[in-house]
């Protein structure tokens, strides 16, 4: 993994909009406002304002994509620091990189754990259901606020990739290129099933209290189980074999229901860590948004209209949560619309996690792709 230099010490910024009565109209028909988005930026926006790249994060991600977070405690590197920074795939000496926390999240943007101004208490499950299209609509307000007319690129892995696709669907004239990674046009029944098991784990925990647990403590057991299931789906059979095999934590079997195997210890550790940093209701809302997402009927709503956005679609061979056939479905749509596009299925054993780990191959593809897009004249 690339380790040379990072984007420096980064301060989280906030942008609030959709103040009543100008609330954001949601796909569900409901409205939400005011909305705050937490976001970070890396690099400088140039005078022409044509070097801006928007990064979308995955289910449990946040706005802290790169560099070191400013503030108290341990300085923490961003979740995609291997890809964003000086000389990296998203080279911050050339490009202005933006990452915001999605609405419905719990990392500074408005979500179910935010205070509902009407009641003075957290929204909990009074928070309206949101979709990927709503997330992107909120991001569009931020991009407007930053004075950017056209993004050089929208990119992300997993749910971030859905946001990239949705940007092209919602605002095709504002996106010069898109890089959907390890993602799909829609969730398959298998993907919905995994999400539903996670949601049921949360909601079956008595501590969930119909979502009204704020001030009383999270449904930790349920959320941890949800996260453990998630982690299994992010790895591959081979990567689990390499990482844990059947290694034991102690010398022998305990012959009790203790964590005998290393893989058990890992999942519990991941589950416990997750409940300290993530809101259970946000988990419900965001997984629902993933399940509702469906652009299989067409990335653009106007049939026959060509897609002007340039695409780089990336999948990973061992990713069984978002298998490469789903990436090929995206490619199929791009072929039909005569889009200028590239597709690569990277050989990796990491499973779905590969988009966070395979920095070298992704860097090679992305840096050259961006260079080409940046160089090409507008409206080619």
């Amino acid at each position: 993994m690339t380790t040379h230099g990072n984007a420096g010490t980064i301060k989280v910024q906030y942008y609030t909009f959709a103040e009543p009565p100008k609330e954001l109209k949601l796909e569900s028909g409901q409205s939400l406002g005011p909305i705050t988005l937490a976001y970070e930026t890396y690099g400088e926006l140039n005078n022409e304002k044509n070097n801006a790249i928007l990064i979308g994060h995955a289910l449990s991600g946040d706005a802290h994509a790169a560099g070191l977070r400013e503030g108290a405690g341990v300085k923490e590197l961003g979740w995609w620091d291997s890809m964003i920074g000086p000389g990296k795939a998203f080279d911050t000496t050339k490009y202005f990189v933006i990452c915001s926390n999605v609405i419905g999240g719990c990392k500074g943007s408005t979500g179910p754990s935010s205070i509902n101004p009407k009641t003075g208490r957290p929204y909990a499950i009074d928070f309206p259901l949101i979709t990927i299209s709503d997330m992107v609509n909120a991001q569009r307000h931020l991009i407007d606020h930053l004075g950017i007319d056209k993004l050089l690129c929208v990119v992300g892995g997993s749910m971030g990739g859905m946001q990239a696709l949705q940007w092209v669907a919602s605002y095709p004239e504002r996106v010069r290129s898109a890089i959907p990674i390890a993602t799909a046009l829609k969730h398959s029944p298998q993907q919905i099933a995994f999400d539903e098991v996670g949601r049921q784990a949360v909601m079956a925990d008595p501590e969930w209290r119909e979502g009204n647990y704020y001030g009383l403590g999270q449904p930790e057991k349920g959320l941890a189980v949800a996260r453990m299931i998630g982690h299994i789906t992010y790895m591959s059979d081979q990567s689990m074999e390499e990482k844990f095999s059947r290694r034991l934590k102690e010398k022998n079997y305990s012959f009790r229901f203790k964590t005998d195997f290393e893989v058990e210890g890992y999942l519990r550790y991941k589950g416990d860590g997750f409940v300290r940093r993530f809101d259970a209701n946000s988990y419900l809302y965001i997984t629902k948004a993933l399940d509702y997402f469906d652009l299989s009927g067409g990335i653009t709503r106007h049939p026959g209209r060509p897609i002007d956005t340039k695409f780089l679609v990336i999948a990973f061979k061992s990713d069984w949560l978002y298998p490469s056939y789903q990436a090929q479905e995206i490619v199929k749509q791009l072929k039909i619309r005569h889009a200028d596009a590239s597709y690569c299925e990277i050989k990796s054993t990491y499973g779905h996690d590969a988009f966070l780990l395979e920095a070298e191959e992704q860097t090679h593809l992305i840096s050259h792709f961006l260079k080409k897009v940046y160089k090409d004249k507008e409206g080619r």
Partner: protein
Amino acid sequence: MTTEAIRPDHQVIYGIVEPGSRVLDLGCGEGDLLSLLTSGKGVKAQGVELSEPAIYKCVEKGLSVFHGDIDSGLKDYPDKSFDYVILNQSMQEVKKVDFVIDEALRVGGRVIVGFPNFAYWRARLRLFFKGKTPVTYSLPYRWYNTPNLHFLSISDFKEFCADKGITIESEHFLGRNRGQQFLPNLFALNAVFLITAGNNRKER
């Protein structure tokens, strides 16, 4: 652009393709031909390639390329999506040649096919006198490591086109470094054909 370093088959194809056209190169390798056509003829280029390292080289060259095999690479395209579909040194590697040619003719107005000539005289000699599978300049592999699934001669291909009602618009025969027009089925190492669906096309 120096013509010295450019492969003879690439030179021939370069001569065929009209400026500004839409080109699909099936089995584009590291993208040398598409780069040439993009820089020299301003074509809108799309490649299809199976090898992952070759994909990286294509993207490095600024080309658009899809990772996948030729057999399944065509079906998603609407009719006449391209002006030219190129199958240069890749036709002999696909599983179902007749299907791929049909699809290429559907997707592109004109199809450029380049392949090594199995009836080259040295190949004939090797088979006739030594009783061994031919290994030539254009067929450099051994029987156990060749990517080629089909072995054909120039005459075979012409017969194929006649049987299928495919029109041969032009034909080009190549020796090692230049054209080879004299008794091509005997003396040419490689052949490049420009074909179209033709009017008397037989039903599939």
